[in-house]
């Protein structure tokens, strides 16, 4: 009972949200999310920066998107619902195209800005149950920028960058007894870039093919702190009770890991009003490092004589394994008219978990997940002379079903013990697309 209580207390801190990055977990773009990421061969909007940057050459002139999405979790451990953060934020994207020596050159950005923070590092101790995919990943801004060139009418190549931040910095304090304390700060938030690239081809009128590569991305958080305490004396006395002390606190951790990915997709149009797309994504989760802080505390001087301390070993590796993720999407267009068009989309993705059976000290929470999605899209033709081309409104929904998973610890005295967890995520959103 005490153990269960301890687990529940710890898990009230369970952070929310997404996997690796919000785009790995939910996707981006209403149409792509509705087709559950089976989009490498489509990528004809701002979602293409993520799924296949080469595909954005299908967009001419100027194209802008504005959307909002929110994801609501329902996760349980031992049947008790957990207080997990939801995932909310604004999505914007733009594609600008020009003609360069007879070839279309397109470029622009896709960004997701969470409501709560631009970025969060929440680094938990090794044994605290948490989702490695949801702890920080959704709580971060996503910035993708890319450009693509239409080499021929049936072949495009694209490259881009994904950007995040790392942080190194700490403070030096002089904690004084007889004069005001003071401190100095040196903090450096650095940029971390990882490349993305894609090839898009349309060899036949009814067939599109896309191959996409996304390099792994992770952040490092390093916090060195130094607290200096002068010799301590009793009030009114000049004789030192304790000689000067120095306390060094060091925390070093890796987080926001997104695995290296290779994605191959095909999109077929068996009928002029139907598109079927399928993707297979290989995700190299085996390269993930522990996201628990490696904490070191060094105390020297007078206080060390009184209060000895020790340091533990570094966090054990998570031992994740690589995964293959298949996805299928279908788009139907029952109404096609220059004045108004209607599209309905459905999708499915199977996301096998990279997390092994957690029989040891690690407690990464994840399980095989089935993702179902759908979308309703309305495109209105020229209805006001201010907007020279069509405007689209898309409303989408996703459901992530995380299969129940039971964890049996090999050590009967494990601090956390055995547990069972399961979960669902519901994700909703709407998006406006303007074409000029």
């Amino acid at each position: 009972m005490a153990r269960r209580f301890a687990i529940l207390c710890l898990l009230t801190l369970l952070p929310a949200a997404a996997w690796a990055g919000p785009y790995e977990f939910f996707g981006t773009g209403p149409r792509a999310m509705a087709m559950r990421g089976a989009y490498a061969a489509i990528s004809d909007d701002a979602a293409g920066y993520y799924y296949n940057v080469a595909g954005i050459t299908q967009v001419g002139r100027f194209h802008a998107e504005f959307g909002y999405a929110f994801g609501v979790p329902d996760m349980t451990i031992n049947g008790v619902k957990q207080n997990v953060n939801d995932n909310r934020g604004i999505n914007i994207g733009a594609i600008v195209s020009s003609d360069v020596a007879g070839h279309r050159l397109s470029g622009g950005v896709n960004a997701f800005v969470p409501d709560a923070h631009m970025m969060r590092f929440l680094e938990l101790p090794t044994d605290q149950p948490h989702s490695p995919m949801v702890a920080n990943a959704d709580q971060t801004i996503v910035e993708l920028a890319g450009a693509a060139l239409e080499v021929t009418r049936w072949l495009s190549l694209g490259v881009g960058l994904n950007m995040l931040a790392s942080n190194h910095g700490g403070v030096n304090f002089q904690v004084n007894q007889n004069k005001p304390s003071q401190g100095e700060l040196n903090s450096k938030i650095g940029s971390v870039f990882s490349p993305i690239a894609g090839i898009w081809s349309k060899p036949l009128d009814w067939l599109r093919v896309g191959l996409s590569y996304r390099e792994k991305l992770f952040c490092r958080l390093t916090l060195p702190n130094d607290i200096q305490i002068p010799a301590l004396t009793l009030p009114g006395s000049e004789q030192a009770l304790l000689r000067a002390s120095d306390l060094k606190l060091w925390a070093d951790t890796w987080s926001h890991f997104s695995p290296r990915q290779f994605e191959l997709g095909f999109a077929f149009e068996p009928h002029s009003r139907v598109t079927i797309s399928t993707d297979l994504t290989y995700m190299q989760w085996s390269e993930m490092k522990s996201d628990a802080p490696h904490t070191l505390v060094y105390l020297s001087g007078g206080l060390a004589d009184v209060f000895p301390s020790t340091n533990g070993p570094p966090p054990p590796p998570p031992d994740f394994h690589d995964t293959w993720n298949p996805a299928l999407g279908i788009e139907g267009r029952p109404v096609v008219d220059p004045r108004a068009a209607l599209a309905l989309r459905l999708g499915y993705r199977y996301r096998p978990t990279p997390v092994p059976d957690e029989t040891g000290i690690n407690n990464y929470l994840d399980s095989d997940t089935h993702i179902f999605s759908g979308d309703f899209g309305l495109t209105i033709g020229k209805f006001w002379d201010v907007f020279p081309r069509a405007i689209s409104l898309d409303v989408f929904a996703q459901m992530h079903y995380m299969a129940p998973r039971i964890i049996h610890k090999s050590d009967p005295d494990d601090y956390i013990g055995d547990y069972r967890f399961a979960g669902e995520w519901w994700n909703f959103g709407a998006n406006l697309t303007f074409r000029f």
């Binding site: 931040a165 650095g190 951790t253």
Partner: protein, 443 residues
Amino acid sequence: MRRLHLRVILFAAIALSVGRGAAHADVLYTYGYTPRGIGMGGAMTAVADDMGAAYYNPAGAAFQTKPLIGLGYLYTGSEMKGIGVRAPSLATTYGVLFGTILPIPFGGFLTDRVAFGLASFFPNGLLLGIEVPYATSPQYVLLQNSGRSLSFIPTFSIKLLDILSIGGGVQTFDNTSGSWHARINQDGSIQATVTQEMIGSYAATAGLMFRPGAYWSEVDGLRFGFVFRDSFFTSYKIPVATSVGGVPLVVEFNATSLYTPRQYVAGLSYATGNWLFAVDGSYNEWSEFPHPSLDVSVHFKIPVLPIAFRDSVAEAPHFHDTVTVKTGAEVTAWRGNDGVFMTRFGLGYDPSPVPPQRGNTNFLDTDRWIGGVSVGWRWLGVGTYKFSAPLVFDLGGQLQYLPARVTEKADTVDPTNPGYPRVGFQGWLYAVGGTLSIPFDYE
């Protein structure tokens, strides 16, 4: 026509009320943005017709009918000499400039009236660097973090009339807060929970551009610009909570850095023949500059021992407002079939807002005399072959003279103060940069 103008104004009011308007960044305040602007001494408020429009005057973008994209590099350095103290080093800064103007191709009454602008500076490998030395350490309180932060200023602008445009946007960046909590395990080892949040912050910028020549040909070439930039700073807060032999030790600190003052800038430019002249005046509210050193609070009670630790003491910096003047000129020196060659120069004066350092702090700052030069080459093609879009190369440099400023310390100052008995410095700042910008057409 009147109804058209009313609709434009209403649209603009709605558009600008949605945005929170925007801001200004340290490296841009210190040196300016784009080689052209740097070479013209920063007198660009009434010019603002290139990739720097979002910074210099967001309203300027609305007068551009072609999209434009620019990419470049900026390098800054310094040569400082301490007087009475050993001058701390000032880190060099270098990074990528990226700017754009994208007229939004609306139709109807908004045709050629609305534009998106972006001005950004990405320091190499850095999004934000903050150094906050001990309060008594000699330090360049205004310059030490200059150029150590990303600047990102998206704006929108709208041409209300053929002679008048307005624009606004935001500079976005983050404040940092978090915590550091250590936990003692049964084996005596320590594990920590570390959190750190980067929370978005925004500062507004807004501008107005007036080109009377569109209505009155007698003053063709005359432009007025007005810009407001709200104050901008980042804050940093992280409590460190650990345990010394089971005794809780909590040290919390707060810091404010990268402060850039609220500014009101007025500019005038006049183009005649091959010449363009510009002048800017800026009122800078430095008097709101916050205490720049770390605030430290300590919670550490050792059992039995009646020992109390003291928090830090904040001293108001007492900066004062300043007025900055900048002038610049551009001349089209040569024009041919293959391109156009331009030269530019500028002068400026930026007085220091920092009072004499007679007390415990040693904030090093002095007036800045600014000189700049720049050249530009608008390359149209080679011989009979013409590029589909011109390639515009700009190179520019700026040299700032920082005259000697020395302050004698008051008698009440502790002789162990690093600035005792006198503190001062003199030196030079410099910046060089180059850009390639391309005005093009949507496909």
